[in-house]
């Protein structure tokens, strides 16, 4: 098995774990910021020395740097989609509770 396969599978498993225990707490938010910082550093490096991505790709068993970036993009996209979906669900619940509070405050009885 290629290294890229190992990495991709690990990424998918990590996504699953994230989905299973997604709870926004301070720790998770801190990790997102660290991840973003690493992403920026990597992006700057890849822009400055584009051919190095191919070198890294070859280490991992991928022919072209472009393909490696593409794989990373797919994983990042799935991650973003899932976290947005969960976030929306959470907001919907809060929205429902807000609407419920409004509804209960304006309850009407048949006596008038």
């Amino acid at each position: 098995m290629n290294w890229i396969q190992v990495l991709l599978i690990a990424a998918v498993v990590a996504l699953l774990m994230y989905l299973l225990r997604a709870r926004s707490n301070a720790k998770a938010k801190a990790w997102v910021k660290i991840g973003f910082a690493l992403f920026v550093i990597a992006a700057v490096y890849a822009i400055l020395r584009p051919d190095d991505t191919t070198v890294v790709a070859n280490w991992l068993g991928v022919n072209r740097g472009t393909d490696l970036l593409f794989y990373a993009l797919v994983i990042a996209f799935i991650f973003t989609t899932l976290s947005t979906y969960l976030r929306f669900k959470e907001l919907e619940l809060r929205y429902a509770r807000l609407a419920r509070a409004v509804a209960l405050a304006g309850a009407r009885t048949p006596e008038g």
């Binding site: 299973l20 969960l86 619940l93 509804a103 009407r108």
Partner: protein, 231 residues
């Protein structure tokens, strides 16, 4: 009936049911003193019609879904003085009054906290369309909670339950997935549950208002995600 009807609250979630809600409420009011209709952001005259027929009316400012409407109705009813017994009843006229009465009688024996209606038990002849029947029965058998509890119909809109259940009920699935969530809550809270055979009246109106079978996909997916969200 052993239960004092003045302590019973009937919860009727309704979305654009102005055509039938008046009759449904009036019918319920002939037996029960307290009916609360939760108008789920209807654009027609559902709220006014229900109010005129003698129901308490709680109106969602926007449409949220049946699960949210039931939760709202329960929260309203459980805060009323003297409320001890609760029932959920669909607004589209597919349930029979006498089924609620027999379910309340079952509840009044005191050995269970909640009674759920079932289309598929006992000797009642079920008029459920064959494909719908197959899917509903499969859902009851495949759902971990409904299987553990031995339930045969996991998506019946008729339920009667006591104050314990009402006080702790916290439905978070706003849409049609609340039925499965209700069953899961029964399982998690170890409420004692029983089933009572009921008949569903598949009138042209109730069929036209019913949910398409494909919605089952959403229900299954929501069930998988349940509990992954912060409460």
């Amino acid at each position: 009936m052993d239960i004092d009807p003045s302590r019973v609250w009937i919860i009727v979630p309704a979305f654009n049911e102005a055509q039938v809600i008046g009759d449904v409420v009036a019918d319920l009011r002939s037996v029960f003193a307290h009916v609360v209709c939760v108008d789920d952001g209807s654009s027609d005259t559902t709220a006014e019609t229900a109010l005129r027929a003698g129901a308490h009316v709680v109106s969602h400012p926007v449409n949220l879904g049946q699960g949210a409407a039931i939760q709202t109705g329960v929260e309203y009813a459980r805060s009323q003085p003297g409320a001890a017994v609760f029932a959920t009843f669909d607004a589209d006229g597919q349930h029979r009054l006498k089924d609620v009465v027999s379910m309340l009688e079952r509840l009044s024996r005191g050995d269970v906290d909640i009674v759920i209606g079932t289309r598929f038990a006992g000797s009642t002849i079920s008029h459920t369309p064959p494909l719908k029947r197959l899917v509903l029965r499969a859902a009851a058998r495949l759902g971990p909670s409904s299987r553990r509890l031995g339930l045969t119909d996991a998506h019946n809109g008729l339920r009667t339950f006591d104050k314990t259940v009402a006080d702790h009920l916290d439905l978070t699935m706003s849409g049609m997935s609340h039925a499965g969530e209700f069953i899961a809550l029964i399982d998690e809270n170890r409420w004692r549950v029983a089933e009572e055979p009921v008949e569903i009246l598949y009138t042209d109106y109730s069929v036209s208002k019913g949910q398409p079978l494909l919605n089952g996909v959403n229900v299954v997916f929501d069930g998988f995600l349940r509990g992954r969200l912060r409460r």
